[in-house]
Protein backbone atom coordinates (compact mmCIF):
# COMPACT_ATOMS: atom_id res chain seq x y z
CA UNK A 1 0.00 0.00 0.00
CA UNK A 2 1.68 3.22 -1.06
CA UNK A 3 1.34 6.33 1.06
CA UNK A 4 -2.11 7.71 0.29
CA UNK A 5 -3.04 11.37 -0.04
CA UNK A 6 -3.87 12.12 3.56
CA UNK A 7 -0.94 10.03 4.66
CA UNK A 8 1.55 12.03 2.68
CA UNK A 9 0.16 15.26 4.03
CA UNK A 10 0.38 13.67 7.44
CA UNK A 11 4.02 12.87 6.83
CA UNK A 12 4.94 16.50 6.23
CA UNK A 13 2.77 17.66 9.09
CA UNK A 14 4.57 15.11 11.20
CA UNK A 15 7.94 16.62 10.39
CA UNK A 16 6.67 20.11 10.98
CA UNK A 17 4.48 19.50 14.00
CA UNK A 18 6.93 17.24 15.72
CA UNK A 19 9.36 20.10 15.69
CA UNK A 20 6.94 22.79 16.75
CA UNK A 21 4.52 20.91 18.95
CA UNK A 22 6.35 21.33 22.26
CA UNK A 23 5.98 25.04 21.82
CA UNK A 24 2.26 25.09 21.33
CA UNK A 25 0.93 23.69 24.54
CA UNK A 26 -2.03 25.23 26.34
CA UNK A 27 -3.00 24.60 29.92
CA UNK A 28 -6.01 22.27 30.14
CA UNK A 29 -8.91 23.09 32.37
CA UNK A 30 -8.58 19.94 34.44
CA UNK A 31 -5.76 19.46 36.92
CA UNK A 32 -2.81 17.42 35.73
CA UNK A 33 -3.10 13.75 36.69
CA UNK A 34 0.55 12.84 37.11
CA UNK A 35 4.04 14.23 36.99
CA UNK A 36 4.31 13.87 33.21
CA UNK A 37 1.06 15.65 32.51
CA UNK A 38 2.05 18.30 35.02
CA UNK A 39 5.36 18.74 33.20
CA UNK A 40 3.64 19.17 29.89
CA UNK A 41 0.94 21.31 31.42
CA UNK A 42 3.11 23.56 33.56
CA UNK A 43 6.15 24.04 31.35
CA UNK A 44 5.64 23.52 27.67
CA UNK A 45 2.66 25.85 27.28
CA UNK A 46 5.09 28.69 27.96
CA UNK A 47 6.14 28.33 24.34
CA UNK A 48 2.78 29.53 23.23
CA UNK A 49 3.23 32.76 25.10
CA UNK A 50 6.57 33.32 23.38
CA UNK A 51 5.05 32.51 19.99
CA UNK A 52 2.28 35.00 20.43
CA UNK A 53 4.30 37.76 22.07
CA UNK A 54 4.24 40.52 19.48
CA UNK A 55 6.67 42.61 21.49
CA UNK A 56 9.50 40.21 20.62
CA UNK A 57 11.44 40.59 17.41
CA UNK A 58 12.40 37.57 15.33
CA UNK A 59 15.80 37.10 16.94
CA UNK A 60 14.46 37.48 20.50
CA UNK A 61 11.65 35.02 19.77
CA UNK A 62 14.07 32.51 18.27
CA UNK A 63 16.49 32.78 21.16
CA UNK A 64 13.76 32.46 23.79
CA UNK A 65 12.41 29.39 22.02
CA UNK A 66 15.81 27.81 21.90
CA UNK A 67 16.39 28.40 25.60
CA UNK A 68 12.98 27.01 26.44
CA UNK A 69 13.38 23.96 24.22
CA UNK A 70 16.81 23.04 25.49
CA UNK A 71 15.46 23.20 29.03
CA UNK A 72 12.61 20.80 28.25
CA UNK A 73 14.18 18.33 25.87
CA UNK A 74 16.90 15.83 26.75
CA UNK A 75 18.87 16.50 23.58
CA UNK A 76 21.83 14.34 24.56
CA UNK A 77 19.68 11.30 25.27
CA UNK A 78 17.83 11.73 21.97
CA UNK A 79 21.05 12.25 20.02
CA UNK A 80 22.59 9.06 21.41
CA UNK A 81 19.40 7.13 20.68
CA UNK A 82 19.33 8.32 17.07
CA UNK A 83 22.82 6.92 16.47
CA UNK A 84 21.46 3.41 16.94
CA UNK A 85 24.09 0.69 16.93
CA UNK A 86 26.77 3.16 15.76
CA UNK A 87 26.80 4.72 19.22
CA UNK A 88 28.70 1.66 20.44
CA UNK A 89 31.16 1.42 17.54
CA UNK A 90 31.97 5.08 16.82
CA UNK A 91 34.99 6.75 18.51
CA UNK A 92 33.88 8.61 21.68
CA UNK A 93 35.08 11.96 20.31
CA UNK A 94 32.93 11.47 17.20
CA UNK A 95 29.94 10.67 19.38
CA UNK A 96 30.46 13.88 21.37
CA UNK A 97 30.84 15.89 18.17
CA UNK A 98 27.64 14.29 16.88
CA UNK A 99 25.72 15.33 20.01
CA UNK A 100 26.74 18.94 19.35
CA UNK A 101 25.82 18.76 15.67
CA UNK A 102 22.50 17.13 16.50
CA UNK A 103 21.67 19.93 18.91
CA UNK A 104 22.30 22.53 16.21
CA UNK A 105 20.33 20.57 13.65
CA UNK A 106 17.37 20.00 15.97
CA UNK A 107 17.29 23.64 17.03
CA UNK A 108 17.46 24.80 13.42
CA UNK A 109 14.60 22.46 12.53
CA UNK A 110 12.47 23.82 15.38
CA UNK A 111 13.17 27.36 14.35
CA UNK A 112 12.31 26.79 10.72
CA UNK A 113 8.97 25.24 11.55
CA UNK A 114 7.54 26.95 14.58
CA UNK A 115 6.22 30.02 12.79
CA UNK A 116 3.70 27.89 10.88
CA UNK A 117 1.70 26.94 13.94
CA UNK A 118 1.03 30.14 15.81
CA UNK A 119 -2.73 29.80 15.35
CA UNK A 120 -2.97 26.31 16.82
CA UNK A 121 -3.19 25.05 20.39
CA UNK A 122 -2.58 21.76 22.10
CA UNK A 123 -4.81 20.41 24.84
CA UNK A 124 -3.75 17.65 27.24
CA UNK A 125 -6.35 14.86 27.20
CA UNK A 126 -4.63 12.12 29.23
CA UNK A 127 -1.59 9.93 29.59
CA UNK A 128 -0.41 6.34 29.81
CA UNK A 129 2.43 5.05 31.94
CA UNK A 130 4.76 2.55 30.21
CA UNK A 131 6.79 2.00 33.36
CA UNK A 132 7.36 4.00 36.57
CA UNK A 133 9.57 6.55 34.76
CA UNK A 134 8.23 6.48 31.22
CA UNK A 135 5.00 8.26 30.22
CA UNK A 136 3.08 9.04 27.05
CA UNK A 137 1.10 12.25 27.43
CA UNK A 138 -1.72 12.54 24.91
CA UNK A 139 -2.81 15.87 23.50
CA UNK A 140 -4.99 17.14 20.70
CA UNK A 141 -3.97 19.80 18.21
CA UNK A 142 -6.81 22.28 18.01
CA UNK A 143 -7.20 24.53 15.01
CA UNK A 144 -9.69 27.34 15.58
CA UNK A 145 -12.53 27.31 13.07
CA UNK A 146 -11.65 23.92 11.61
CA UNK A 147 -14.33 21.22 11.26
CA UNK A 148 -11.68 18.52 10.92
CA UNK A 149 -11.00 15.99 13.65
CA UNK A 150 -8.24 17.34 15.92
CA UNK A 151 -4.88 15.76 15.22
CA UNK A 152 -3.30 13.69 18.00
CA UNK A 153 0.08 14.76 19.31
CA UNK A 154 1.75 12.57 21.93
CA UNK A 155 4.71 13.46 24.13
CA UNK A 156 7.04 10.88 25.64
CA UNK A 157 8.31 12.03 29.02
CA UNK A 158 10.98 10.29 31.09
CA UNK A 159 11.43 11.01 34.80
CA UNK A 160 14.43 8.81 35.60
CA UNK A 161 16.96 11.65 35.40
CA UNK A 162 15.76 13.44 38.52
CA UNK A 163 13.36 15.69 36.68
CA UNK A 164 10.88 15.18 33.84
CA UNK A 165 12.35 15.57 30.35
CA UNK A 166 10.85 15.29 26.91
CA UNK A 167 12.47 12.57 24.81
CA UNK A 168 10.10 12.15 21.87
CA UNK A 169 7.04 13.60 20.19
CA UNK A 170 4.56 11.88 17.88
CA UNK A 171 2.16 13.40 15.39
CA UNK A 172 -0.65 11.01 14.49
CA UNK A 173 1.46 8.05 15.55
CA UNK A 174 4.73 9.07 13.87
CA UNK A 175 7.51 9.37 16.43
CA UNK A 176 10.18 11.93 15.62
CA UNK A 177 13.13 10.26 17.35
CA UNK A 178 12.35 6.93 15.72
CA UNK A 179 12.21 8.58 12.31
CA UNK A 180 15.49 10.38 12.99
CA UNK A 181 17.19 7.21 14.19
CA UNK A 182 16.06 5.34 11.08
CA UNK A 183 17.34 8.17 8.88
CA UNK A 184 20.71 8.44 10.59
CA UNK A 185 21.29 4.70 10.75
CA UNK A 186 20.28 4.42 7.08
CA UNK A 187 22.65 7.23 6.17
CA UNK A 188 25.50 5.67 8.16
CA UNK A 189 24.81 2.32 6.53
CA UNK A 190 25.37 3.97 3.14
CA UNK A 191 28.54 5.73 4.35
CA UNK A 192 30.55 2.94 6.00
CA UNK A 193 29.35 3.96 9.47
CA UNK A 194 31.35 7.18 9.30
CA UNK A 195 29.83 9.43 11.96
CA UNK A 196 31.93 12.39 10.80
CA UNK A 197 30.20 12.24 7.43
CA UNK A 198 26.85 12.38 9.22
CA UNK A 199 28.03 15.32 11.32
CA UNK A 200 29.05 17.21 8.18
CA UNK A 201 25.70 16.45 6.58
CA UNK A 202 23.77 17.53 9.68
CA UNK A 203 25.73 20.78 9.84
CA UNK A 204 24.94 21.43 6.19
CA UNK A 205 21.27 20.76 6.82
CA UNK A 206 21.29 23.08 9.82
CA UNK A 207 22.60 25.84 7.54
CA UNK A 208 19.97 25.07 4.94
CA UNK A 209 17.27 25.15 7.59
CA UNK A 210 18.20 28.73 8.34
CA UNK A 211 20.71 28.68 11.14
CA UNK A 212 24.47 28.42 10.74
CA UNK A 213 25.95 25.46 12.57
CA UNK A 214 28.40 26.37 15.32
Amino acid sequence: MPLSMPLMRRALFAFAILAAAPLLMVRPAAAAQNVAEAFVDENIHKGLDILKDKKLNTVQRRDQFETLLLGLVDVRRIALFTLGQYRRTAPPEDVEAFVGAFKNYATAAYQSYFAKYTNQNLKVIGSTQRNPTDFIVQTQLLEPGSSQQPAEVDFRVRTDAGKPVLVDVAYQGIWLSLAQRDQFVGFLGQNNGNVRTLIAHLSELAVNLGKPAN
Binding site: M5, R130, L178
Partner: protein, 240 residues
Protein backbone atom coordinates in the same frame (compact mmCIF):
# COMPACT_ATOMS: atom_id res chain seq x y z
CA UNK B 1 -5.50 -3.74 -12.77
CA UNK B 2 -2.85 -1.03 -12.67
CA UNK B 3 -1.85 -2.21 -9.24
CA UNK B 4 -1.31 -5.77 -10.48
CA UNK B 5 1.02 -4.65 -13.28
CA UNK B 6 3.02 -2.42 -11.00
CA UNK B 7 3.39 -5.12 -8.41
CA UNK B 8 4.52 -7.57 -11.13
CA UNK B 9 7.08 -5.02 -12.35
CA UNK B 10 8.37 -4.58 -8.85
CA UNK B 11 8.70 -8.32 -8.31
CA UNK B 12 10.62 -8.73 -11.59
CA UNK B 13 13.05 -6.07 -10.43
CA UNK B 14 13.43 -7.85 -7.14
CA UNK B 15 14.40 -11.08 -8.89
CA UNK B 16 17.24 -9.22 -10.59
CA UNK B 17 18.18 -7.45 -7.40
CA UNK B 18 18.33 -10.78 -5.60
CA UNK B 19 21.67 -11.46 -7.29
CA UNK B 20 23.41 -8.91 -5.04
CA UNK B 21 24.08 -9.82 -1.42
CA UNK B 22 22.41 -7.41 1.02
CA UNK B 23 24.51 -5.57 3.58
CA UNK B 24 24.14 -6.32 7.31
CA UNK B 25 22.61 -2.84 7.74
CA UNK B 26 19.99 -3.59 5.09
CA UNK B 27 19.17 -6.93 6.68
CA UNK B 28 18.90 -5.28 10.11
CA UNK B 29 16.43 -2.79 8.65
CA UNK B 30 14.38 -5.61 7.07
CA UNK B 31 15.29 -4.12 3.71
CA UNK B 32 17.34 -6.79 1.89
CA UNK B 33 16.61 -5.19 -1.51
CA UNK B 34 17.77 -1.76 -0.38
CA UNK B 35 20.00 -1.01 -3.37
CA UNK B 36 17.26 -2.03 -5.77
CA UNK B 37 14.78 0.05 -3.78
CA UNK B 38 17.06 3.08 -3.79
CA UNK B 39 17.38 2.77 -7.57
CA UNK B 40 13.61 2.41 -7.88
CA UNK B 41 13.10 5.54 -5.76
CA UNK B 42 15.49 7.46 -8.02
CA UNK B 43 13.59 6.24 -11.09
CA UNK B 44 10.30 7.26 -9.50
CA UNK B 45 11.76 10.69 -8.77
CA UNK B 46 12.69 11.11 -12.45
CA UNK B 47 9.24 10.04 -13.59
CA UNK B 48 7.76 12.49 -11.10
CA UNK B 49 10.01 15.30 -12.27
CA UNK B 50 9.51 14.91 -16.01
CA UNK B 51 5.98 13.51 -16.27
CA UNK B 52 3.96 13.50 -13.08
CA UNK B 53 4.63 16.95 -11.64
CA UNK B 54 4.11 18.79 -14.96
CA UNK B 55 0.81 16.90 -15.32
CA UNK B 56 -0.16 17.78 -11.76
CA UNK B 57 0.72 21.43 -12.36
CA UNK B 58 -1.43 21.46 -15.50
CA UNK B 59 -4.27 19.89 -13.49
CA UNK B 60 -3.92 22.52 -10.78
CA UNK B 61 -3.91 25.37 -13.30
CA UNK B 62 -6.89 24.05 -15.29
CA UNK B 63 -9.14 22.84 -12.46
CA UNK B 64 -10.03 25.21 -9.62
CA UNK B 65 -9.69 24.12 -6.00
CA UNK B 66 -13.39 23.37 -5.57
CA UNK B 67 -13.29 21.14 -8.62
CA UNK B 68 -10.24 19.28 -7.37
CA UNK B 69 -11.88 18.82 -3.98
CA UNK B 70 -14.95 17.40 -5.71
CA UNK B 71 -12.80 14.94 -7.64
CA UNK B 72 -11.03 13.97 -4.42
CA UNK B 73 -14.36 13.42 -2.64
CA UNK B 74 -15.73 11.42 -5.56
CA UNK B 75 -12.72 9.11 -5.67
CA UNK B 76 -12.89 8.68 -1.89
CA UNK B 77 -16.55 7.76 -2.18
CA UNK B 78 -15.74 5.13 -4.81
CA UNK B 79 -13.27 3.57 -2.36
CA UNK B 80 -15.82 3.28 0.45
CA UNK B 81 -17.19 -0.16 -0.56
CA UNK B 82 -13.65 -1.56 -0.33
CA UNK B 83 -13.12 0.15 3.01
CA UNK B 84 -16.42 -1.25 4.27
CA UNK B 85 -15.45 -4.79 3.22
CA UNK B 86 -12.08 -4.49 4.93
CA UNK B 87 -13.71 -3.07 8.07
CA UNK B 88 -15.92 -6.16 8.16
CA UNK B 89 -13.07 -8.58 7.50
CA UNK B 90 -11.22 -7.05 10.46
CA UNK B 91 -14.26 -7.37 12.70
CA UNK B 92 -14.53 -3.59 13.02
CA UNK B 93 -18.32 -3.51 12.92
CA UNK B 94 -18.67 0.03 14.25
CA UNK B 95 -16.24 1.42 11.69
CA UNK B 96 -17.95 -0.61 8.97
CA UNK B 97 -21.23 1.03 9.93
CA UNK B 98 -19.63 4.45 9.61
CA UNK B 99 -18.25 3.56 6.18
CA UNK B 100 -21.66 2.41 5.00
CA UNK B 101 -23.31 5.52 6.45
CA UNK B 102 -20.76 7.76 4.73
CA UNK B 103 -21.36 5.96 1.44
CA UNK B 104 -25.11 6.40 1.79
CA UNK B 105 -25.01 10.06 2.77
CA UNK B 106 -22.33 11.18 0.34
CA UNK B 107 -23.78 9.21 -2.59
CA UNK B 108 -27.19 10.84 -2.12
CA UNK B 109 -27.05 14.17 -0.30
CA UNK B 110 -23.46 14.55 -1.49
CA UNK B 111 -24.50 14.38 -5.15
CA UNK B 112 -22.84 11.12 -6.06
CA UNK B 113 -19.89 11.68 -3.77
CA UNK B 114 -18.65 15.02 -5.11
CA UNK B 115 -19.60 16.65 -1.80
CA UNK B 116 -18.79 15.36 1.69
CA UNK B 117 -21.76 16.19 3.93
CA UNK B 118 -21.01 13.09 6.05
CA UNK B 119 -17.93 14.74 7.56
CA UNK B 120 -19.98 17.78 8.51
CA UNK B 121 -22.49 15.41 10.16
CA UNK B 122 -19.73 14.02 12.38
CA UNK B 123 -18.91 10.91 10.33
CA UNK B 124 -15.29 11.49 9.35
CA UNK B 125 -13.67 9.19 6.85
CA UNK B 126 -11.09 6.57 7.68
CA UNK B 127 -8.93 4.31 5.56
CA UNK B 128 -8.79 0.54 5.46
CA UNK B 129 -7.27 -1.77 2.89
CA UNK B 130 -6.54 -5.44 2.48
CA UNK B 131 -2.91 -4.96 3.49
CA UNK B 132 -4.18 -3.84 6.89
CA UNK B 133 -6.64 -6.72 6.98
CA UNK B 134 -3.82 -9.19 6.38
CA UNK B 135 -1.85 -7.56 9.19
CA UNK B 136 -4.82 -7.89 11.55
CA UNK B 137 -5.00 -11.55 10.56
CA UNK B 138 -1.37 -11.95 11.60
CA UNK B 139 0.45 -11.79 8.26
CA UNK B 140 3.90 -10.20 8.53
CA UNK B 141 4.82 -7.27 6.31
CA UNK B 142 7.84 -8.88 4.65
CA UNK B 143 10.78 -6.90 3.28
CA UNK B 144 10.46 -3.25 2.38
CA UNK B 145 9.77 -2.49 -1.30
CA UNK B 146 9.61 0.55 -3.52
CA UNK B 147 7.00 -0.02 -6.23
CA UNK B 148 7.24 1.70 -9.61
CA UNK B 149 5.24 4.96 -9.53
CA UNK B 150 3.51 4.10 -6.26
CA UNK B 151 6.49 4.20 -3.93
CA UNK B 152 6.86 2.62 -0.45
CA UNK B 153 5.26 -0.77 0.13
CA UNK B 154 5.98 -4.37 1.12
CA UNK B 155 4.77 -7.75 -0.17
CA UNK B 156 1.80 -7.81 2.21
CA UNK B 157 0.62 -4.34 1.25
CA UNK B 158 1.35 -4.89 -2.45
CA UNK B 159 -0.78 -8.04 -2.37
CA UNK B 160 -3.42 -6.02 -0.58
CA UNK B 161 -3.47 -3.53 -3.45
CA UNK B 162 -4.29 -6.28 -5.90
CA UNK B 163 -7.00 -7.78 -3.68
CA UNK B 164 -8.55 -4.36 -3.09
CA UNK B 165 -8.77 -3.82 -6.84
CA UNK B 166 -10.46 -7.20 -7.25
CA UNK B 167 -12.98 -6.86 -4.42
CA UNK B 168 -13.99 -3.28 -5.19
CA UNK B 169 -17.58 -3.65 -6.39
CA UNK B 170 -17.25 -0.72 -8.77
CA UNK B 171 -14.60 -2.67 -10.67
CA UNK B 172 -17.03 -5.55 -11.15
CA UNK B 173 -19.65 -3.57 -13.03
CA UNK B 174 -19.18 -4.35 -16.72
CA UNK B 175 -20.52 -2.00 -19.34
CA UNK B 176 -19.58 -0.89 -22.80
CA UNK B 177 -17.14 1.86 -21.81
CA UNK B 178 -15.80 -0.02 -18.79
CA UNK B 179 -12.20 0.16 -19.90
CA UNK B 180 -12.39 3.93 -20.36
CA UNK B 181 -14.10 4.39 -17.02
CA UNK B 182 -11.54 2.26 -15.26
CA UNK B 183 -8.58 3.96 -16.95
CA UNK B 184 -9.93 7.44 -16.27
CA UNK B 185 -10.55 6.59 -12.64
CA UNK B 186 -7.03 5.24 -12.18
CA UNK B 187 -5.56 8.29 -13.91
CA UNK B 188 -7.39 10.71 -11.66
CA UNK B 189 -6.64 8.61 -8.57
CA UNK B 190 -2.93 8.87 -9.30
CA UNK B 191 -3.25 12.55 -10.19
CA UNK B 192 -5.12 13.25 -6.97
CA UNK B 193 -2.56 11.28 -4.95
CA UNK B 194 0.40 13.03 -6.50
CA UNK B 195 -1.28 16.42 -6.42
CA UNK B 196 -1.79 16.21 -2.70
CA UNK B 197 1.55 14.67 -1.90
CA UNK B 198 4.26 16.13 -4.10
CA UNK B 199 4.80 19.25 -2.02
CA UNK B 200 4.90 17.03 1.06
CA UNK B 201 7.50 14.85 -0.59
CA UNK B 202 9.60 17.87 -1.48
CA UNK B 203 9.38 19.06 2.12
CA UNK B 204 10.57 15.70 3.43
CA UNK B 205 13.39 15.66 0.87
CA UNK B 206 14.56 19.10 1.99
CA UNK B 207 14.59 18.28 5.70
CA UNK B 208 15.91 14.72 5.57
CA UNK B 209 19.42 13.53 6.19
CA UNK B 210 18.64 10.46 4.10
CA UNK B 211 15.38 10.78 2.19
CA UNK B 212 15.17 7.06 1.41
CA UNK B 213 15.50 5.99 5.06
CA UNK B 214 13.19 8.78 6.13
CA UNK B 215 10.46 7.63 3.76
CA UNK B 216 10.91 4.02 4.89
CA UNK B 217 10.55 4.98 8.54
CA UNK B 218 7.52 7.19 7.93
CA UNK B 219 5.83 4.52 5.84
CA UNK B 220 6.29 1.84 8.47
CA UNK B 221 5.21 4.05 11.35
CA UNK B 222 2.13 5.28 9.51
CA UNK B 223 1.13 1.78 8.45
CA UNK B 224 1.55 0.43 11.98
CA UNK B 225 -0.57 3.25 13.31
CA UNK B 226 -3.23 2.54 10.69
CA UNK B 227 -3.26 -1.15 11.51
CA UNK B 228 -3.76 -0.35 15.20
CA UNK B 229 -6.49 2.15 14.29
CA UNK B 230 -4.93 4.55 16.77
CA UNK B 231 -5.14 2.11 19.68
CA UNK B 232 -2.41 0.64 21.92
CA UNK B 233 -0.35 3.81 21.88
CA UNK B 234 3.32 3.48 22.71
CA UNK B 235 3.26 -0.26 23.38
CA UNK B 236 6.03 -1.15 20.96
CA UNK B 237 8.31 1.84 21.52
CA UNK B 238 12.01 1.17 22.13
CA UNK B 239 13.66 2.23 25.35
CA UNK B 240 15.86 5.30 25.38
Amino acid sequence: MRGLRLVALGLCGLLLAGCAAPSPESLAANDPYEQFNRDALRRNAKIDKYIVIPTVEAYFSLVPEDGRRGVHNFLGNLALPTIFLNDMMQGEVSRAGKSMWRLTVNSTVGLGGFLDPASKMGIPGHGEDFGQTLAVWGVGEGPYLILPLLGPSNPRDAAGLVVDAVINPTNQIRFKQHIWWSGTRQFFTLLDLKGQSYQTIQGIQRSSVDYYSSLRSLYRQIRNEQIRNGRKKGEDLPDF
